[in-house]
């Protein structure tokens, strides 16, 4: 009964999505206030029904209703409650329902928090989001209904994939989806603005906090995924350039370009067309990501069993969204005025350079991700693009980006005197080159290391330029106490957000470089009591014992780690076998630290109490995620900037008078 309720409310959600997509849009074009007013209640109604539907599916998992096919495949009575809930999005159908729920959630959020938006603009934004939700809800209902029943009803469910029975993975997809779907807000704002023909600073100001929040979620989602892969897969890697990882990284890069270009459009009125194009691109890339994950066209660790009908549906939807939005762009964009002019040496140019680099990197990742598909389609053979290529590509382009990242915040808008800029940059340049040389010297490691030198140089460059920027700002704001006043009263959140996020990049660069260059890995056969030395640490294998978990059996190894005489940690890597899916699973033993991780995963029993073990020493690997957290905090600071609220309140009175005409077609 309850699953049917879920199914019906999903259908109602789709119906309301149709209403939302059609009436407010038409109403906004032919000045019918009643139709425009429909937007808000319809969005709420849609959210209500999709949420109800989602709750029904959660309930089906909680009560182990195995008459529902999806539950019987992914649920199990033995599953701990938290994983019963996360099992809802553990496979294809449920994760799409989560997508749809989050999309309708964002729609409601826009209707609630953007109250000061002119009614016409709001109606159009919500309407476009309604169109996207039609795509996803009909995809759910027609090709992947999570409420399909099965008969006869099995007594026990097929269980959640053991890899997914983990806290990191319980929260990773919702965060990532919040980011993916959040970019639809920027997309919808852009489409609404194109339809209205009014691309001005106000549009950029409305769009900006939403884009930043979506980007923060994407940052958190990607960092969580990388952290999860690190401790759960047992390979010690944190990024694999897997197609699905690329699918999340591309919208992030495009989103990064977008938040920078939105800043220019808001502050200077320049780059309007480019910003719109990036808004369309960022969301299109997140749709493409969904297509790649869901259709199974690419070999990836994330692939679910493929279903051609689904792939075709998403491909058609993708073409409609990308083709439609680009056509609208081609039709309307030429009317957009080019906006603020700027000199060659100016902050605008530097941000343009940053955007260019981000887009080039995105394009290359797209090339590397889609090349296997293209080669296969053209009959050139089956290929995969090697891991090292992606790394090489980043090593070529990222240094230039960081160089610009240092200069950009110090340059003035519109016109910058180049001599003055060079004077400001002299000290950071000398300091960073010096630090890079010291780090590259053979004192700290064997031989000269150009890579570590370069990484340290770039990080110090970023830090030094950030420091100079901060000092310059505080000179006019009565010293360090000025920061607080700045944040509280003046709405400088986006400035400090930029500082924190760029600082996060510096931390990330150091972490990646150290973890890649100085990690030590050793596969070994160990007998109980045997000691092996890796990177100055002694690892003593103390044998393996049997252990019983709630829904799995495990071989629990014990390894004591010593530094000299001092015991540093006792690690317990596990090899689990889940009772239902009988899949072996590695749970690595990790001693996490600010300066290094010690990471052990258990291989196989080799007889006579011997086991194969994989021992890692990973310096500064935590800095990678620390950087990710800092970047996200920076984004949050920027998104909560008081300025947006103040500015909106100030303008609200003006816009009320403007009424419908304000957003109408010119």
């Amino acid at each position: 009964m309850i699953p049917e309720l879920g199914n019906f409310s999903l259908i109602l959600g789709l119906t309301l999505g149709l209403v939302l997509a059609v009436f407010p849009m038409i109403g906004s074009l032919n000045n019918t206030p009643a139709w425009v007013a429909l937007a808000r209640p319809t969005a709420w109604g849609q959210f209500f029904f999709v949420a109800l539907s989602f709750a029904c599916l959660v309930n089906a998992f909680l009560v182990d209703d195995f008459s529902v096919l999806y539950v019987s495949q992914n649920g199990n009575t033995q599953l701990p409650t938290i994983y019963k809930v996360s099992a809802v999005w553990g496979a294809h159908e449920g994760s799409l329902l989560l997508w749809a729920l989050i999309l309708s959630g964002w729609t409601v959020a826009v209707s609630l928090f953007a109250r000061d938006l002119p009614a016409v603009v709001l109606a159009r934004v919500l309407s476009v989001m309604g169109m996207i939700s039609i795509g996803f809800l009909s995809f759910l209902l027609f090709t992947s209904n999570p409420f399909d029943r099965r008969f006869p009803v099995p007594l026990e469910g097929g269980d959640l994939n053991p890899l997914l029975q983990d806290f990191g993975l319980a929260v990773h997809p919702p965060m990532l989806y919040m980011g993916y779907v959040g970019l639809s807000v920027a997309f919808s704002f852009a489409i609404a603005a194109l339809i209205g023909g009014k691309l001005d600073a106000a549009w950029a100001r409305w769009s900006r906090p939403w884009t930043t929040v979506a980007w923060v979620f994407l940052t958190i989602g990607i960092s969580l995924g990388s952290w999860w892969a690190y401790y759960e897969l047992g390979w010690g890697g944190w990024w694999f350039w897997d197609p699905v990882e690329n699918a999340s990284f591309m919208p992030w890069l495009a989103g990064t370009a977008l938040i920078h270009s939105l800043a220019v459009t808001e502050k200077r009125g320049a780059f309007k067309r480019w910003t719109v194009l990036l808004s369309l691109l960022a969301f299109s890339l997140s749709l493409l990501g969904t297509f790649l994950v869901r259709s199974g066209v690419l070999t990836s660790v994330h692939s679910f069993a493929a279903d051609p009908a689904r792939g075709l549906f998403i491909l058609v939807f993708l073409c409609l969204v990308i083709g439609g939005s680009l056509a609208l762009y081609a039709w309307r964009a030429p009317d957009v005025s080019s906006g603020g002019r700027f000199d060659f040496v100016s902050r605008e140019t530097l941000l343009l350079g940053n955007n260019l680099l981000l887009v080039v990197i995105t394009a290359f990742i797209l090339l590397g991700t889609l090349a296997p598909l293209v080669y296969d389609a053209l009959g050139w053979g089956k290929i995969s693009v090697g891991f090292p290529w992606f790394t090489t590509m980043l090593i070529i382009f990222a240094p230039f980006m960081i160089l610009l990242m240092g200069i950009g915040p110090l340059a003035r808008w519109k016109h910058q005197d180049s001599d003055e800029l060079l004077r400001k940059l002299r000290l950071p340049f000398l300091v960073s080159v010096g630090a890079g040389l010291v780090a590259a010297m053979p004192v700290l490691h064997e031989g000269w290391s150009l890579w570590i030198g370069e990484a340290v140089m770039l990080s110090v460059w970023l830090l030094a330029t950030l420091f100079i920027g901060l000092r310059q700002r505080l000179q006019h704001r009565q010293g360090p106490t000025g920061i607080w006043r700045d944040l509280r009263l003046r709405g400088s959140g986006s400035y400090y957000g930029m500082l924190v996020a760029h600082f996060g990049i510096a931390v990330f660069v150091v972490g990646v470089t150290a973890a890649n260059l100085f990690d030590v890995e050793k596969d070994a056969r160990m007998s109980p009591g045997q000691i092996i030395e890796v990177a100055g640490y002694s690892f003593r294998f103390d044998g393996v014992e049997a252990h019983q978990g709630p829904n799995y059996r495990a071989d629990l190894g014990t390894v004591s780690v010593f530094k000299g005489e001092r015991e540093v940690a006792v690690l317990k890597p596990e090899k689990r076998t889940y009772l239902v899916q009988t899949k072996p699973m590695t749970e690595s033993g990790i001693d996490a630290g600010f300066t290094r991780d010690i990471y052990i995963s258990l291989g196989e029993a080799l007889g006579g109490g011997d086991w194969s073990l994989r021992l890692y020493y990973k310096p500064l690997v935590r800095w990678i995620w620390l950087g990710g957290i800092l970047i996200a905090i920076g984004g949050l600071l920027a998104a909560t900037d008081k300025r947006y609220r103040m500015a909106i309140r100030h303008r609200a009175s003006v816009l009320v008078k403007g009424g419908l005409a304000a957003g109408g077609r010119p």
Binding site: F304, V360, G368, W389, T392
Partner: protein, 155 residues
């Protein structure tokens, strides 16, 4: 030309050249990093280059997994149900590695026809067959059927 304009032009040209060089380098590296996939049949017939990194895939032959003395190096056969290739791998096999299952191995073919793998991939989902492997099995199957038909035509 106005000196200021000239300076700007130089800078733009410099930027374009810089980005061009970057793109050129990346595309050049791209070709070196392409790894082609070969089925066991193609490896046996000598289509696969030796000494160059490639990927092969197929089903692990049941009963073929052998562990060498040091305990870390294993040998196993990979088949597309027509031909088999012996694979050698040193290290810890992935959790989902099992005989009878589809896998993909990345590595180089040595001169004796043994595939020395740097990495062995088995997928998260046990129902999931890597598309390349499924394709290789399908091709070998079709060729086998054709072969039988031809033989049947000659009484």
């Amino acid at each position: 030309m106005h000196p200021k304009r000239k300076k700007r032009l130089y800078l733009i040209v410099l930027m374009v050249i810089g980005i061009g060089i970057g793109i050129g380098l990346t595309l050049n590296a791209f070709n070196d990093n392409l790894m082609f996939f070969y089925s066991p049949t193609e490896v046996v017939s000598g289509e696969a280059p030796s000494g160059h990194p490639i990927r092969i895939g197929g089903l692990v032959t049941t009963g073929s997994l052998k562990r060498q003395e040091n305990g870390l190096t294993v040998n196993f056969d990979v088949t597309d149900n027509a031909e088999t290739v012996n694979v050698e791998y040193t290290g810890i096999l992935p959790d989902l590695f099992r005989e009878g299952q589809g896998i993909i191995a990345r590595g180089k073919l040595d001169t004796d026809g043994v595939f020395v793998a740097d990495e062995v991939l088995a997928k998260h989902d046990e129902n999931y067959m890597p598309p390349e492997v499924a394709d290789a099995l399908q091709t070998a199957h079709e060729e086998g059927v054709e072969d039988m038909n031809q033989r049947g035509a000659i009484p």
